[in-house]
Subunit: 363 residues, 2 copies
Amino acid sequence: MTHIYNFSAGPAVLPKEVLAQAAAEMQDWHGSGMSVMEMSHRGPEFISIYQQAVADLRELLAVPANYKILFLQGGGLGENAIIPMNLAGLAAQQPATVDFVHTGSWSGKSIQEAAKYANVNVAASSRAARFTGVPPVAEWQLTPGAAYLHICTNETIDGVEFQQAPDVPAGTTIVADMSSHILSRVIDVSQYGVIFGGAQKNIGPAGLTVVIVREDLLGKALPICPSAFDWTIVAEHESMYNTPPTYGIYIAGLVFQWLKRQGGVAAMEQRNIEKAALLYAALDADDFYQNRVEPAYRSRMTIPFYLRDESLNDAFLAGAKQRGLLQLKGHKSVGGMRASIYNAMPIEGVQALVNYLNEFAGR
Amino acid sequence: MTHIYNFSAGPAVLPKEVLAQAAAEMQDWHGSGMSVMEMSHRGPEFISIYQQAVADLRELLAVPANYKILFLQGGGLGENAIIPMNLAGLAAQQPATVDFVHTGSWSGKSIQEAAKYANVNVAASSRAARFTGVPPVAEWQLTPGAAYLHICTNETIDGVEFQQAPDVPAGTTIVADMSSHILSRVIDVSQYGVIFGGAQKNIGPAGLTVVIVREDLLGKALPICPSAFDWTIVAEHESMYNTPPTYGIYIAGLVFQWLKRQGGVAAMEQRNIEKAALLYAALDADDFYQNRVEPAYRSRMTIPFYLRDESLNDAFLAGAKQRGLLQLKGHKSVGGMRASIYNAMPIEGVQALVNYLNEFAGR
């Protein structure tokens, strides 16, 4: 059989070693006689899995001690409501104002949802530039006393990535949607108030949401915030106020251990830089393909591109599939192609895609 | 190794055949080259898994065509908020009143959470009787024009089960929390407006929530309802408005197929009647053990019991564990023991427990 490389934007490719271990342990975890799926979340076996996952994520991202790591449900779209429900109370005046920077589809969805719970100020937008970059921070119109500033640090659909935390005035609480690039590069967690992401891109299976929140931001939830999504309650109960997505946490834990074996996030970042450079070089070689994002904001993880002659799209996808290069079709809202090259995508997969790009372009 | 029987209340035992199939398919689902965890939820492979799961659940419970089957996240505790957010708008007057029957810990939690979104009327309560039964329906003080009536048809912690849908006045919309006995007995779905449950007891892994809702109840969500939990939006998007818990849906689908191979819900109900009769007979044989629930409301699924001499609790649990009888400790709020004997618990497991009960009692 052809070697398969899966470029899905999420749920996405997982490390082969992780899947092999999950298969081997499915029917009996460590001699317990139980599958991880069958364990009480309050039993010693699962508690050990949970604690190891939290400790490993804390180590991988160097999460400071004054941040809580929470495992929730509902994904990024759920958090779009859960965040203002938890944080609108931080604003200097009520009703709260929340600032957003609009850099693509995902920040757009966050803006729409937050408007149910707070006044929304779009401090900057790259919509006029068709979401091909990030407006200069100096031009952002931030609201004094806003509850927080929400940014999406990697726009999955548009392929726009913040290369560092924005240099905003001291005291600004940044809430960062890192769903599609968390653990792909070294970050300084202390520059953010909240980091969150759906797991199904760089962490594990769909249905698990990771929230990293600075402790002083807790305790401000609106009265309408459901208890199961009230970060303060969830933190007090070590993510076990309701039954957590236990199997998702287990798989995420296996991914964290795999990342540590790879040398951690810094080593992974070097590989991601190489992988992205290889792919962008093939896209830029001539004008057969096109990535429209400004070079300074090009994503290393989610790389949209277009064929100059879009009538060839179907032939391109069919040929890719024949070669085992799967799920390259772009998001329906923007068309074209997209290659998601998350941590678990080996450089061999990117090379296989590059070979096909060159072949299809007749180079 | 001793044969293991896992009596956990949830996450709980799964059919061995299901776990074996999941292990075999973990690294390559049906020759796709992908794990189910790696599939885009919008790709043809996962769509086929989703559609089969919905169709099988519809067949197993004979869900009428005018009911939607939704796959959500957040569990029963999440739904305690999500339900009033979706249904409070049905009340004749606003602010809405919601009726509850309080029969144990879970309905108690539902009452507490709903009070954030509506006026709560406890139409009946068995609290004075220490949650050992269900108050007679004739005595329920229902509110004219209430948005709905919420009941928990199997109280997991207290072991109290409704043996049929309550005979309430026509036009009453019953919302039933069936988390811990769904698919264990034949029900008439048309007697309910909404049936919901966390999957982690009788359906599959934690992190998946199943909601079955009559279509005419949709379209009334409060403006503060998060989009990801707005049943109308979720139904319009076939449970794919946000990324669903794909692997949980896959495992649930395998459980549904296993149930069909067992002869469906009616056949399963006969086995559950036998299993429960066997266990209650051992508990009732003399006064060494005690189940305090009125016989007419004894649960077939979740069976709490106490040792007459509670100083023997630790010895009982230690001996059980030695014999491979796991997770028999009762919920911390009520103490004692609890045997959850869900669909996936074979009668051999119940017999092994009964043998131990007799042995420990010195019979």
